[in-house]
């Protein structure tokens, strides 16, 4: 909560009539984040002088402070934003520090920290001086000014003035400390002119359809609200590049600014993948002579809309930038914050509006001998002598984090352009920012050297970057043996014949046995006519014979096509047919599911030989001896599902398989003493690692059957009793183990791959297992291409390339992208497949030779997005085709999934887009009770609004593919029941908030889950809303909180937590009225709440306030009234507080009408006049109408039903169910069901339900005991004609009303009469009796 204590301004002050719009904008930012120091303008220098000089400077500053209003301004909150005040006298703020003991770095840190101490904008002065004595005659000083009151130009004017007064020479200008007020006034006038209007229209056209955000790829997920924290990186162009920039500018009739801005557009386009790029650029705002020497903040930002086409030349981009800059500059008199309001672009509170990257050209037309003092990296030697003192630059980073990225140039060092890149640390790590700065410099240099070549033909990156990328992207070079897997295995078997090679089904096979079985299979295959290059389908249960079969096929110089018997027979038949398998190696027990038409050799009956005839391969010469097998021969064909179309076979050569096995053996250190628990289906290529790597290391393969592998608890037990030291599985499988209660295994080394590794899973595994390795690689590059140990503290990367493997992150033109930039991952090296089986076109498309980054190398295009970090780690950013755009925002689904997964109680989460909405599928951890609303609000804490799934669906489990990856295509369609577009308010707090919103936003209605900024809210309106909340409840809601908790439901929770609303009277303002008009009072119906009147109120004639009286017991326990008379007496007290005397307008629906009758009677007895008494389908309180008594459970069941009625929803809980539950459990049950339906607020608890029920019961008792006398009153009775239960044409009121009784039939039944569409009819019936006249006697 912010400190709202009003500032004491000692001297009298009056507000200035105007505040300029740029200042208003900055003031709002400060309101949003009072700790923000991103708008501090800072100047630092080191001075060597006599101490007397300091005294003199102080006197001068004192004089300047009293001479110039602009130095004394402050801002206070007004109704529609800030007001500006100038107190008569304001003391200087000079802060002394003796820094003689501090080392230089500590001093630098100290100064940096001090210059960031935030200002309170209501306490002048909004500038200060920090002074650090570092030696007897040496000081460091820093001047800090808040941008709301001063710009950089003002700071320079001030420096210049102090300097000339010190030197005793007249300044070349007269400092003006009052013109800022004239500027604000002039701006106000200007904005009302037709010219301004025309400019706005022009801007609307110019910025139409611009992307809603610049989606720069960064290191960190964007937080829901910007923090304005940042860093700076200085950079400089070479002298040659600077000259080239100037030349190019001359040739194009442009300025150096435009040349450099063009390069910046190129950089941003490459960093975002967008070609349409908005950049904010400040203008001095001092267009007129009279403001040239004025103190104040005149700077205004314009937005330049750049376009980058990689096919264009730099000169063409420059021409376009020039035209676009001029267009933007023509509208520079429109203040940016005002323009934002006028254009109302789609707002995302996580970003600055309209632009997220800035480019400034800052050069002062005076004080030119101090240029070096304004550079962040001024170089050595710069000094200046002033009045006997010596000044040296003491550069201080400043104004960081205003936007995602910001480049400031304009200064020069040694004849070369120098600048600073500022970045927001929400998004970028310092190392990445350094790469970005280096890349900007390189980009400028490359472009100005080749202005007439298309951009896409120019190289990216500098020498250092290129060398770094090549080093990081290359795995170790290792010579491969000439052997194939069968030879390697044979050699191993020769070394360790008696060692155990396989454990399966309780059976152990030694290497000798496995070799013998392999040879038996190979021999049988040869006998059957299988020769080199033939494909053999292998279909066997997981077990030792399966391994012998695969090895046997290879031993026979053929290639295997693995068929998992668990797959559908159609798919198996397709694979067998597409691969043109000549034979199927099967098992007798698997006959049923076998693809038809293939000759079969049964592993468990090799002696019988082939059943069927092995067709001769066409063209195979009779009796010709086939050539000797080579490592380039086909080893296996593995089928992968394309996202569309038929599965495709990937043809893997022996060399690739051997490279993988040896490289992974090396990386894992897998040895003869290790054993690996193999759980993966053979139809997934990674099974090859599990079944073969141990066999080339002398270790053991423990084959796990598929039933155990699919059952978390059984698998956990298997890991435990198998003694395995390694296991490889997908994240989904590891998660399954975790959910089954597995708590790790200290001896187990984990290989995790096949899907993105979620951080929370990595955190779970680390520390619970011996080591966690992340592995990555497509089938097309043979099982894995990268491997690395995971340290969750550093985040998840995909490791380093395997041996003889090269990785490239390329742009769409095939150039390597600089570190930090996004690109597509391409893989080259020994792991590459031969291609797709029988699909030459597809092969040519995905396996490409001749890309600029590697002209002679064949590379496989992965379709995955990746990024190198500045410290050489490779990050995986999901599938390129998995990137979605919603409402113009790029959304990384994986990022949303990571956040959902991190929510307490969530085991797994998948996010997809359905019907232009984000849908999150969430699997709770076993035993966790999750509510979708809670998941959403938890996600909103760390995600920008547009990334929070609109719908969250809870699932018991996620659908999986056969390879144990999540199958996104089989997620169920979300039920759209509870996430209907419009949700009504559910309690008094929400009703009141909804009313405030509709008033502030000027919209007819609003749902409790609508986000304030989605339905037209902006910062100014947010301030109003915050003020309204403060007024109503005395609860302080900072605007920053509004950005995060932007829905009525969330705000209501905050208000309730604020805890002060309980003291207010239970009268809810449904609608404000005109001043001096009498309100219409409506009384709560049965149950005590009043939201039933929201719809009615919307249709009642405007002008008169509509107030509803809620039962006090709803909010405060123990306050329920049990007699209608008691209620009336109490409610009249509330009424009289608002309207002390009659005539009164009273009404109510159902029981509310009965209360109104009693209230009217008591008021009449007190001598008051009754203007209107209206009852909406209220049954008269007479003997015949008394409801039957019922037992508690029945009443509880009615109570539940009536909770849902106002929302048009049904909540039928049979009384017997509630009776069986009994007590608290019954209430909890109702609470849960009601919350699930959305008819209770998200934070509703049992205490609230109990209060509601108490009020409900009390109403029931009151109604049963209320049998009033007839009274001389007039009554307007609305009768719901569709009501089934018949209480007579006048509902019994003829027995009580002695005055006129007017009955109007309205549509609807007893309940629906208050809801759309019938509420409008009821309102129409009442309207003629409300004659919206004002009452002079009032007020």
């Amino acid at each position: 909560m912010t400190d709202r204590t009003p500032t004491t301004i000692d001297s009298p002050a009056a507000p200035l009539p105007f505040v300029n719009a740029q200042q208003v904008g900055l003031w709002f930012i400060h309101e949003t984040d009072p700790q923000c120091s991103a708008y501090h303008i800072v100047f630092g220098a080191e001075v060597t002088a006599d101490p007397e000089l300091g005294v003199r400077v102080r006197e001068i500053l004192d004089d300047l402070m009293s001479e110039h209003d602009a130095l004394r301004v402050c801002f206070r909150p007004g109704e529609d934003g800030p007001t500006q005040w100038v107190p008569e006298s304001v003391p200087l703020d000079i802060r002394h520090t003796d820094a003689r003991g501090l080392d230089p770095q500590a001093l630098r840190d100290r100064v940096r920290t001090d210059t960031r101490i935030p200002f309170d904008l209501s306490r002048p002065p909004l500038w200060r001086v920090h002074l650090y004595r570092t030696a007897e005659r040496t000081w460091v000083f820093a001047v800090v000014m808040h941008h709301v009151a001063a710009d950089f130009w003002s700071l320079a004017l001030l420096l210049s003035e102090v300097r000339s007064r010190l030197e005793g020479v007249p300044n070349r200008f007269t400092l003006d400390g009052t013109a800022f007020a004239a500027y604000a006034e002039q701006q106000q006038r200007f904005l009302a002119t037709d010219k301004a209007r025309a400019l706005v229209d022009g801007e609307a056209t110019r910025l139409a359809d611009a992307p809603p955000g610049l989606d720069l790829y960064g290191d960190l997920p964007r937080p829901p609200a910007p923090t304005y924290d940042g860093g700076s990186v200085p950079f400089a162009l070479s002298a040659a590049a600077t000259e080239a920039v100037r030349d190019l500018a001359r040739e194009a009739s442009a300025t150096p600014y435009m040349v450099l801005l063009s390069a910046y557009f190129v950089l941003l386009s490459r960093l975002s993948g967008q070609s349409d790029v908005l950049v904010g650029t400040p203008t001095s705002g001092r267009l007129q002579r009279q403001f040239r020497d004025a103190l104040g903040n005149f700077v205004n930002t314009v937005v330049v809309r750049g376009e980058v086409d990689e096919n264009a030349t730099y000169r063409e981009v420059l021409a376009s930038t020039r035209a676009r800059t001029l267009e933007a500059m023509r509208a520079q008199e429109l203040p940016f914050p005002w323009l934002v309001r006028e254009l109302a672009p789609p707002r995302d509170p996580s970003r600055t509006p309209l632009y997220q990257a800035g480019f400034a050209w800052d050069r002062l037309p005076f004080l030119t001998d101090m240029d070096a003092f304004f550079l962040l990296d001024p170089g050595p030697g710069a000094r200046l002598d002033v009045a006997g003192a010596t000044l040296r630059p003491y550069p201080l980073p400043q104004q960081e984090g205003q936007t995602d990225l910001w480049i400031e140039m304009g200064g020069e060092r040694d004849g070369a352009f120098a600048g600073v890149l500022r970045y927001n640390t929400d998004i970028f790590e310092p190392g990445t920012a350094r790469e970005l700065a280096a890349t900007f410099v390189t980009t400028v240099q490359t472009l100005v050297q080749h202005p007439d070549e298309p951009l896409h033909r120019l190289a990216r990156g500098d020498e250092r970057q290129v060398a770094q990328l090549a080093a990081q992207g290359s795995g170790p070079v290792r010579e491969l043996p000439p052997d194939r897997l069968p030879e390697l295995f044979r050699e191993q078997a020769g070394r360790t014949p008696e060692a155990t090679a396989l454990v399966a089904d309780g059976e152990e096979w030694s290497y000798r046995r496995l070799l013998a079985e392999t040879e038996r299979v190979a021999a049988a295959l040869r006998t059957a006519g299988i020769a080199r290059g033939d494909r053999v389908a292998v279909m066997a249960e997981r077990g030792a014979p399966l391994v012998a079969a695969l090895l046997g096929v290879l031993e026979a110089d053929a290639a295997y096509v693995p068929l998992d018997p668990k797959l559908p027979v159609e798919r198996l038949a397709y694979m067998a047919e597409d691969s043109r398998a000549r034979l199927l190696l099967g098992e007798r027990s698997l006959e049923e599911n076998r693809p038809a038409g293939l000759p079969v050799l049964n592993l468990d009956d090799l002696e019988t030989g082939v059943i069927g005839t092995v067709a001769r391969e066409p063209g195979a010469g009779e009796g010709a001896e086939p050539a000797a097998p080579t490592p380039s021969d086909l080893a296996y064909i593995l089928y992968t599902s394309g996202s569309t179309g038929r599965p495709k076979g990937v043809a893997i050569p022996h060399r690739a398989l051997v490279n993988l096995l040896l490289s992974m053996r090396e990386n894992t250190g897998f040895s003869a003493s290790d054993s690996l628990l193999a759980v993966t289906t053979v139809s997934f290529d990674i099974a090859g690692l599990e079944l073969f790597m141990p066999l080339v290391a002398g270790g053991r393969v423990i084959v796990c059957d598929s039933e155990t592998a699919a059952d978390g608890a059984r698998l956990a037990a298997r890991i435990e009793d198998s003694g395995a030291t390694w296991m490889q599985a997908t994240p989904t499988s590891w998660r399954m183990l975790r959910d089954a209660g597995w708590d790790g295994c200290p001896r187990l080394n984990v290989l995790c791959g096949g899907e993105e590794l979620p951080l929370d899973l990595a955190e779970f595994l680390t520390g619970r297992v011996a080591a966690l390795h992340n592995v990555y690689g497509p089938t097309e590059t043979t099982i894995w291409s990268t491997e690395g140990r995971v340290d969750p503290a550093r985040g998840i990367d995909i490791g380093r390339p395997l041996a003889n493997t090269q990785l490239y992150v390329l742009d769409p033109q095939g150039r390597s992208v600089e570190p930090g930039f996004p690109g597509e991952l391409w893989i080259g090296g020994e792991g590459l497949a031969i291609g797709y089986w029988d699909r030459p076109e597809l092969t040519a498309e995905r396996f490409v030779t001749g890309l600029p980054a590697a002209p002679r190398q064949r590379l496989y295009r992965t379709g995955d997005r990746a990024r190198w970090t500045s410290d050489g780690r490779l990050l995986h950013h999901g599938r390129l085709d998995n990137q979605v755009k919603l409402r113009g925002y790029r959304i990384e689904l994986a990022e949303v999934e990571a956040v959902l997964q991190a929510v307490d109680g969530v085991s797994a989460a998948v996010v997809v887009v359905r019907d232009d909405r984000l849908v999150g599928y969430v699997v709770p951890e076993p035993g966790a009770e999750l509510r979708t609303a809670e998941i959403k609000s938890a996600a909103a804490v760390s995600l920008p609004q547009y990334m929070v799934p609109g719908i969250v669906v809870l699932l018991d489990e996620l659908p999986l593919t056969a390879n144990k990856k999540i199958d996104r295509n089989r997620l169920p369609a979300p039920a759209v029941t509870s996430d209907a577009t419009f949700e009504k308010p559910r309690d008094a707090t929400e009703i009141t908030l909804a009313r405030m919103w509709t008033e502030i936003l000027g919209i007819p209605e609003v749902g409790v889950h609508d986000n304030f900024f989605d339905v037209g809210g902006h910062s100014l309106l947010a301030v109003r809303l915050s003020a309204a909340v403060r007024e109503e409840w005395g609860v302080e809601i900072p605007i920053s909180e509004l950005l995060r908790q932007g829905t009525i439901a969330e705000l209501a929770t905050l208000v309730r937590r604020g805890g002060q609303e309980t003291s207010r009277t239970p009268v809810v303002t449904l609608r404000e009225g005109e001043p001096d008009s009498r309100p219409l009072f409506l009384f709560h119906p049965f149950g005590g709440t009043v939201f039933c009147y929201v719809e009615l109120t919307r249709h009642l004639p405007a002008g008169r306030a509509v107030l509803a009286v809620e039962a006090p017991g709803i909010e405060n326990v123990g306050e329920a009234e049990v007699s209608v008379e008691g209620m009336a007496t109490r409610y009249i007290e509330y009424l009289r507080e608002i309207q002390p005397t009659g005539p009164y307008a009273l009404g109510g629906w159902c029981f509310g009408g009965v209360i109104a009758y009693e209230v009217a009677g008591q008021l009449r007895a007190a001598g008051e006049e009754i203007e209107l008494l209206a009852a909406i389908d209220s049954r008269a309180p007479i003997e015949e109408n008394i409801p039957e008594t019922a037992d508690d459970a029945t009443i509880l069941s009615w109570f539940a039903r009536d909770l849902a009625v106002p929302y048009g929803k049904t909540l039928d809980i049979p009384a017997e169910d509630l009776r069986a539950l009994g007590g608290d459990a019954a209430f909890d049950h109702i609470l849960q069901r009601a919350a699930a339906l959305g008819v209770l607020a998200e934070d509703a608890d049992r205490a609230q339900i109990l209060r509601y029920f108490e009020a409900y019961l009390a109403n029931g008792i009151a109604l049963q005991t209320y049998l009033p006398e007839p009274n001389d009153l007039d009554l307007l009775l609305l009768r719901a004609v569709d009501e089934q239960v018949d209480y007579g044409p006048k509902l019994g009121w003829e027995a009580l009303i002695k005055g006129s009784l007017q009955v109007v039939d309205v549509s609807g039944d007893h309940n629906s009469v208050m809801y759309p569409p019938h509420a409008a009819v009821a309102a129409q019936a009442i309207a003629p009796h409300m004659g919206a006249h004002t009452d002079d006697a009032q007020g």
Binding site: S253, T255, Q288, R330, W361
Partner: protein
């Protein structure tokens, strides 16, 4: 508006002096038919030239894009001359939206 007795040549001279000062060359070396940008002028320099013009020619509230629409001493002098004599000044074609 025209409070002084300036001729078109006077205006041209004022401009030549101001632009040459920003370009850092002697006024005599400035070609009045060359665009300001060929002398490396940037927006800050344009601001300074604009202020000289305001001072010397007694004009105020100059259009923000004046120097871009009239990018040489010769063309700008004529545009200013018209302004000083209260004649309408057309914007350059590429300035139209």
């Amino acid at each position: 508006m025209n409070t002084r007795n300036m001729t078109l040549d006077d205006v041209k001279n004022v401009l030549t002096e101001a632009v040459a000062a920003e370009a850092g060359i002697p006024a005599g070396e400035l070609a009045t038919d060359q665009p300001f940008t060929s002398y490396g002028l940037d927006s800050m320099a344009a601001l300074s030239v604009g202020m000289e013009v305001e001072d010397a020619c007694g004009l105020s509230d100059l259009p923000v894009d004046l120097l871009w629409d009239h990018p040489t001493v010769d063309t700008l002098a004529e545009a200013l001359w018209k302004l000083m004599n209260a004649e309408p000044v057309p914007a350059a074609a590429d300035g139209q939206r």
